[in-house]
Symmetry: none
Subunit: 417 residues, 2 copies
């Protein structure tokens, strides 16, 4: 059968002019993808009738499904509803169920129902009303020539509840969507082009119903396999077969699957191996600790961090030797070795890691330019160091260093696994 194609239209000046970030469409297309509906376009237009009507016409000409968010507020600048009524040549009148649900919502919240609010219970006669349990603007479902338009509020939690409780299932029933299986392979420490060179033979031999996408990030690349067919079990087996062939080629770089993060993968390995971790951060200034503790339950294996942002703190609180700092400086292999070993002892952990560098943009010298970073990993078996030469952007350098340190931790944990 043909793909079922969807377009997402976001309506609102505040999104168009960049006053807020649109997070709705990311969530929506992800959910559509999971039920085999392919998003072919996302469009954002302002609260402007001509722009909105044009977007409706274009979307109807291309897609089977048009999901619209925003512009359903009670004020006059919200015009999605009249535009839809116009588009579907439908009069608007008070919808009894919508009205009673609206009254109920306002009673439970203890608010007075104003005339302005009451207008939110008026709907185009040609639409099917979709209840909004979390807000005052009901959703609208339109059908024409086997195509579906759905209008939902722009407030994320209202839209998400509507999609999950009503829209997604209704769409699955309306179209008989193909079966899809996704698998994401998470890699670290190998660039996109190196990766593609390494696996290009494997990629060239992929069956025609499986597609591959590269999703690059900072020192991390995700590989997403998408298989289309009819039987989910067969698709999963087919994809896993391909993954089994892929892994040996890039084993040293695959830390997880689907949405797992590197810090989550490390957490699982630490729990499994019953090991604990501590960090000593200079140039990363707490970002490694923040990344590790962003994982719920990280207190099970993470003892904490010391951030000695001054040389005397490195000496007094982390016992880095005065001679080491005088002879080699704070940004040196000798210093990060002592930092990693001493933090491990002080926090009584199996593993200690450390960072020291010139994050920039200032502070560089000829011998030690901005972006020079030393990192160290220390455990019962010894200490490993790595030298990085990064760029001039402070935050990027901090994040790259964090990933490099996590990569060191992960590498040693998988070796012992």
């Amino acid at each position: 059968m043909n793909d079922v194609l969807a377009e997402l239209i976001t309506i609102g000046d505040e999104i168009l002019y960049g006053q807020i970030v649109d997070t709705n469409t990311q969530w929506m297309s992800e959910k559509l993808d999971e039920i085999g509906i392919k998003t072919i376009r996302k469009t954002t237009v302002g609260d402007n009738e001509d722009q909105i009507m044009q977007a409706f016409r274009e979307a109807e000409s291309r897609a089977n499904i048009v999901l619209i968010t925003g512009g359903l507020g009670p004020t006059n600048d919200d015009i999605t509803k009249p535009c839809l009524a116009n588009f579907f040549n439908s009069p608007i009148s008070l919808h009894q169920q919508a009205y009673s649900e609206l009254k109920e919502l306002f009673e439970t919240r203890g608010f007075q129902l104003t005339e302005t609010n009451k207008r939110q219970a008026e709907l185009p006669d040609k639409c099917t009303m979709i209840s909004n349990r979390h807000g005052s603007a009901p959703g609208m479902w339109f059908e024409r020539n086997n195509k579906v338009f759905v209008s939902m509020p722009g407030v994320p939690h209202e839209m998400k509840a509507m999609m999950k409780e009503n829209v997604l299932e209704k769409l699955q029933n309306f179209y008989h969507t193909p079966t899809i299986f996704h698998k994401m392979i998470q890699t670290v420490g190998i660039g996109e082009s190196w990766l593609s060179d390494t696996i290009k033979d494997w990629e060239g031999n992929l069956p025609s119903n499986i597609s591959l996408a590269y999703l690059p990030g900072l020192m991390q690349v995700k590989l997403r396999l998408t298989a289309m067919g009819s039987d989910i079990i067969a698709l999963e087996e087919q994809v896993n077969q391909q993954v089994d062939n892929l892994i040996p080629l890039i084993e040293k770089h695959v830390f997880g699957y689907d949405n797992e993060t590197l810090e989550e993968a490390i957490g699982k390995l630490l729990i499994k191996q019953e090991k604990t971790l501590s960090t000593a951060e200079s140039c990363t200034g707490g970002h490694i600790a923040h990344t590790i503790t962003s994982v719920p339950g990280s207190s099970a294996y993470y003892n904490g961090s010391l951030i000695p942002y001054q040389n005397d703190m490195k000496m007094d609180l982390l016992d880095v030797k005065k001679e080491t700092l005088e002879m080699h400086g704070a940004v040196s292999e000798a210093t990060v070795i002592e930092m990693a070993q001493n933090i491990r002892r002080k926090f009584r952990t199996d593993i200690g890691v450390a960072s020291s560098g010139i994050a920039g943009p200032g502070g560089g010298t000829k011998e030690k330019p901005v972006g020079l970073v030393w990192i160290a990993y220390s455990d019962g078996n010894g200490t490993i160091t790595k030298k990085l030469q990064l760029g001039h952007q402070r935050l990027i350098n901090i994040k790259r260093t964090t990933t490099a340190v996590l990569y060191l931790i992960w590498q040693s944990l998988v070796q012992n696994n």
Copy 2:
């Protein structure tokens, strides 16, 4: 003159299918807005030639400026460049400057330049190359019938550097955009609706050529004044006059102007007052330290942080009394008071701050629910504490707590100013 209209086209399956959130277009339309260029539409399409070409044609028919991001990677699924070459009927060949910059980038990073990478230095002959100081894909500037197409990488920091260093100014010169003066007033600790109630008389008296926008964030609201006219000096004076009338109404909440962050404002005050700062973080797990050290030059006033993520670390390394932890628990006013006072002593700083709470989503009890956070501020004059009851989202709780701690620091610094 007529408005100069822009459309933003984002290219990439990973955005279309919801693998990642698009933050680029929010930033881009905000920057365009600041130079008087109006965004009329945002479109996202996948790595699909038909869809991309159709988006190009539609955008060209509506807008003066078309800014394109994404699809410039070295792999085969990235096809923005051939699509642009096709759209502008231009052959592609190796661009010498692009090639030498690419080689230089790879040398400084110590990588081998692969054949795949080398392809990134091939450009359509009809475009003007835009240097990419932070990545391997150069930007492209096309002109046709007084309309401009600009193609940039999808990696946010690469795109932003390109926009700031090249594209925005080039666009201002190409179109003679109206004279606009912007001023942003940065506030903290006051909600949007309270703010608008407090300043509504002032807002009502704004001259017609000045508009006000509320840009809300986590515990922070930005007020953006936009003045349109012909003479930049006159506009600046006019806006500053209005700001002078505004400040007395909300003085306790204004920490800075334009793009100044709360952590930057704190840094300036610490330098001016020759004071030093240290932090002791439990539930924030390093995010306060990271926020403070994200400011270049923060080592001038920041001595560092201790993150005792376990109770025995709080006792052994931060001298929190055993009795305190046993009697009140780690998440208590008594504990954060000791943490703030002891970190200040250990790091020998004028100011010490501390956080302890249940970030969630797990770990809550009836007496101490998820989202309960205690924070403390300590200096030579004594110690201040604050109790927060936040929500159930771990990262949001960490960020809100960070802002609340920074707000405490800022409040005490301005009092002494």
